[in-house]
Every structure is written in structure tokens, then in C-alpha cells.
């Protein structure tokens, strides 16, 4: 690799079920101005390139890219959109810096999910228009199919999925950014209505609004600008089968591939030992378990047990989603990866406050783009 890359500034705004007092532009600005202050950079002078992650139908605008530059200080600068998760944005920033053509790159992701009135209809438009969409189903059926096969193959139980919900929402109680903190009993976490059985409504994260901006820099600039750079030592991303008809249902090989790519860059041979904590996708509670297995933190079928034993608690052997994850912080759509990464950065800097983990040096963030996609990204951060 040509050049090491670090996160030198982070900023955020929102992280609430709704943010009615600000427009999406104003929310992005709030996050951006905070990130630039944190990094000590002036976007008009110092930043070489800007990246945002967004999807048109979520924004309600065709070519949302248009509306990105102004509130990021990016007008008349190199800006582009990635139709991906925030961690794809991080990976893009890393690549740009490693070319040697850019030294400081900004990544932005946001969610105004509260503004989207018909989200399930929009998500359904991601289904294959010929093979799947005529059946007229709410797209969570894809998660139901996947979850059922995963439980079948791995022996994971519904109770273990409920424990993920309990853990993450309890973690959220100690995270001031998380709006969905709660102290649930097992009965409560097992109760409520099914959406796509075995997937329960309570095992599905609620949405949240928010914006996150990160400033990344080359080694040379990071060392002069930042007292506490967090190094991005590995990034990986991968797609699986696009169609429902040709994918594996119990296992998520694209998460494994994305992780292997990141691990090989970061020199991680034994993820469970080498990583101090992880922040992973948990928009559906079972995904946390399925993902931990795909990340190689444990073998197939072991993640439920680890959760039951408390190994993934903040005080456990390998804390998982100490932030509260999407269950606790809210599903922020394509900003989810940046929300996970934000927690990793704050933890590694020792700035996580009430939920600060002790002696952490290496953390991982992972994201998935939601149903019906098979797109995942992974980033490893280190101090």
C-alpha cells in the first residue's frame, strides 16, 4: 500500500427518531462543521475531495448528488456520490488517498428516514421487477427467509436473537447519541408481533435521522494535523448474488469476503483475538449473530451461545455494538456504516464517555445495505 490513511475528524448531528427543526442540508452542515473543527481543517482550502453516500429514492430526488456540495463546503470542488453504505464511502476515501492524488478527503452520510412516508413501497422497488415484485410482498420477507434458514443451519434460537436486542438496547442507555435505549426483559424482547416469522417486529430496528461526517487524511497530513489519528488499517467490501434465486440463504459469504479483504490489509489473522471490539449490522437482530460468524469472530452456530454467555457484552471478551447498534441508535439506512464507524473512532480515541471500553486499540465496523441487497463493507480501525 502506498500510504497509510487516518480518520482525523468526526462530526455528527441528529441521531433522533425525527429531526423536524432542520432540513437535510442543515443537518449535514451541523455534522460537517463539527468534523472540520475536530480535524482542524478548512473545507474551502484544505480538503481535496468529498464523497457522499446516498440513494435517490430515499432522498426523494433524482440525482441527489446535486444537493451535496454547498453545506459541506464543497462547492466547485471534486465531489462524488457513492451509491453505497458509508463504509463504501470510507473505502473510497482510502483509495483516493492511496493514489497519492488526494491528501484530505471528506466522507458524508445521512438519514432523513423520518421524511420518507412510504419506505416499504420504495424498498419493494428494489426487488426484481419481473421475478419478485409481481408477488406484491413487503420486502422484509427476504429477511424472514434468510433468518429462518440461518436459524436452521446454525441452531441459533429465537431467544438468542432476543438477547441481541436486549444487549444492544441496554448498551444504548449509556450512549447519549442513542435514542432507543431500553432495559427489556426476555419476555418483552420475545413478545410483540411477527413481521416475517421468525422475524419479530421487536427484532427490527426503528429508523433514525442523523448525519455523520468524517475527515480522512494521508499519513503525512494526519501526523501534522491530528493529536489523535485513528488509522484505517483495512477496508473490504463485497457483493454476493444479486438475485434471490441464486443466493445462499443461511450464510453470507460476501461478508466473509469483505472481512478477509480488510483483515489481510490490517494483518489480522485471528479476528477474535486481534479485534478488541466490533460494531456490526444489527438492523435485524439475527444479523448480528450471522455477521459475527461470517466475520470469523466465531464458527457457524456459535454466535448465539457467545451472546448468551455475555461474551459480546461491553464487559465481555469481545464487546459487540457497545454503541447500541442500530437496535439502540436507530436504522440510519446508508449512514449505518458511518454510525458504526463513528462509535469505533470515539472508542479508540477514548471519547466514548459513559460507555467507554477499557484498553481498546483495534476495532471493526461492518455494514450491510439491507434487504434485498447482498452488499456489505468492513473497515478496521486502529490507534
Amino acid at each position: 500500500m502506498n500510504e497509510d490513511v487516518a480518520v482525523i475528524g468526526v462530526g455528527w448531528a441528529g441521531f433522533r427518531p425525527a429531526t423536524p427543526e432542520v432540513s437535510y442540508k442543515e443537518m449535514m452542515y451541523q455534522a460537517a462543521v463539527k468534523a472540520y473543527d475536530d480535524a482542524g481543517v478548512d473545507p474551502r482550502k484544505d480538503v481535496d475531495s468529498f464523497i457522499t453516500v446516498a440513494e435517490d429514492f430515499i432522498e426523494g430526488t433524482s440525482i441527489f448528488d446535486e444537493y451535496v456540495p454547498d453545506q459541506l463546503g464543497a462547492a466547485l470542488k471534486p465531489v462524488h456520490t457513492i451509491g453505497g453504505d458509508g463504509l463504501h464511502g470510507i473505502a473510497t476515501a482510502v483509495m483516493l488517498i492511496k493514489t497519492g492524488q488526494a491528501e484530505i478527503v471528506v466522507v458524508e452520510g445521512h438519514s432523513k428516514a423520518s421524511n420518507v412516508l412510504t419506505l416499504p413501497h420504495i424498498v419493494a422497488y428494489a426487488q426484481d421487477p419481473i421475478l419478485n415484485r409481481p408477488l406484491n410482498w413487503e420486502t422484509d420477507f427476504v429477511a424472514g427467509l434468510e433468518m429462518n434458514r440461518y436459524l436452521y443451519e446454525s441452531g441459533t434460537t429465537l431467544e438468542q436473537c432476543a438477547m441481541v436486542v436486549m444487549k444492544n438496547r441496554r448498551n444504548a442507555l449509556r450512549n447519549p447519541l442513542a435514542p432507543y435505549g431500553a432495559d427489556l426483559t426476555l419476555d418483552e424482547a420475545m413478545g410483540g408481533d411477527p413481521i416475517a416469522w421468525p422475524l419479530l417486529d421487536r427484532h427490527t430496528a426503528r429508523h433514525a435521522d442523523g448525519a455523520i461526517v468524517m475527515v480522512l487524511a494521508s499519513e503525512r497530513r494526519a501526523e501534522t494535523l491530528s493529536p489523535n489519528p485513528v488509522w484505517v488499517t483495512g477496508v473490504g467490501w463485497c457483493n454476493g448474488a444479486a438475485s434471490l434465486e441464486s443466493r445462499e440463504w443461511g450464510f453470507i459469504p460476501y461478508v466473509r469476503s469483505a472481512a478477509e479483504m480488510a483483515y489481510s490489509q490490517a494483518g489480522i489473522g485471528q479476528p477474535r483475538l486481534d479485534l478488541d471490539f466490533v460494531e456490526v449490522d444489527d438492523v435485524y437482530a439475527y444479523k448480528e449473530l450471522q455477521t459475527l460468524e461470517a466475520l470469523g469472530i466465531c464458527r457457524l452456530g456459535e454466535a448465539g451461545g457467545l451472546t448468551e454467555e455475555g461474551a459480546t457484552e461491553v464487559f465481555g471478551e469481545i464487546p459487540v455494538n457497545p454503541s447500541g447498534g442500530s437496535q439502540g441508535m436507530g436504522d440510519m439506512l446508508d449512514a449505518n456504516g458511518l454510525a458504526r464507524a463513528l462509535e469505533v473512532v470515539l472508542q479508540l480515541r477514548g471519547e466514548a464517555g459513559m460507555h467507554q471500553l477499557e484498553e481498546v486499540e483495534v476495532g471493526l465496523a461492518q455494514s450491510w445495505r439491507g434487504v434485498p441487497s447482498t452488499s456489505s463493507a468492513v473497515a478496521v480501525f486502529q490507534v
Partner: protein
Amino acid sequence: MSILGHDPAGPAAWLGDLPVTSRYTFGIAGERFFRAIKDEGKLMGSRCPACDITYVPARIFCERCLSELNEWAEVGPGGEVYTYTLLFVDKDGLALDEPEIVAFIRIADGGLVHRLAGIEPESVDIGMQVEAVFKAKKDREGSILDITHFKPAKA
């Protein structure tokens, strides 16, 4: 007035839509696959000899090696319930009258996502054999809905 403040008399939110109306062709493979359903009540797969995979529904390319697939053959109409779910909600977030049994039915190396009927939800098992139930030929129009559902296969 300073731009730190706003005039509360203005609308807090602006309501609008993103109008998209679409017309989709079925494609080179889809045309042939769905004509076989419509005209002959047959399910077709296509095989990649290099990757040793039979795709169902048939497609014209192998997603693993991008080869063109020319070996088409009839598959099914039976398959195995590889996984299933009970869907309780519609796209407006409302409860369905009856939960729908949605299954991925594995056929050759692919399969179809479709509904199961003629069986109680609690009797469905992963691994059970099912078969496609087609509409009457005169009612078929070339659609995934030409299959009304899958039902348990006769032993």
C-alpha cells in the same frame, strides 16, 4: 432576523412525491423462460458447463464466469422448500388478513420465491417437497403469477 432563527409561520414540512412509472421487458432469457411457462406450463433452467451450475430461472449468462448459457432444459416443476417465512404485513404496514407462507423453493441449483398454499403454516418444514401449481393455460399471460402457488408434492 438572524439566520439562526426561523419563522414558525412557514410550513414545517413540504409534501411531495417522486413519480416513477415503469415498463419492463422480460429480457432475452425472461422472454423464453416465461413463454415456456405460458405456453407449455414448463419451468426452464440453463446450465453453465464450466461452473457446473444449473440456473433456475434460466438466464443467458452465468453470474460466476459471465459465459453465455446455451444449454436450456426443463426443470421441476417440483422442488424442495429451502427456507420459508410467514409474512404478516403489507407495504403499508398493515396486517395481512392471513399470513402468507413465502418460500424459497430450491430447483436444481436455483429456484423460485413463491407462496405455499394447501398446507397449514405449522406443517411446513424446511426440506419438504413441493410442486408448482399453474393457472389454466387460457389464463396464463407470461408472468410469475402464472404459477398460483406451490403445494406439497404427492408422496
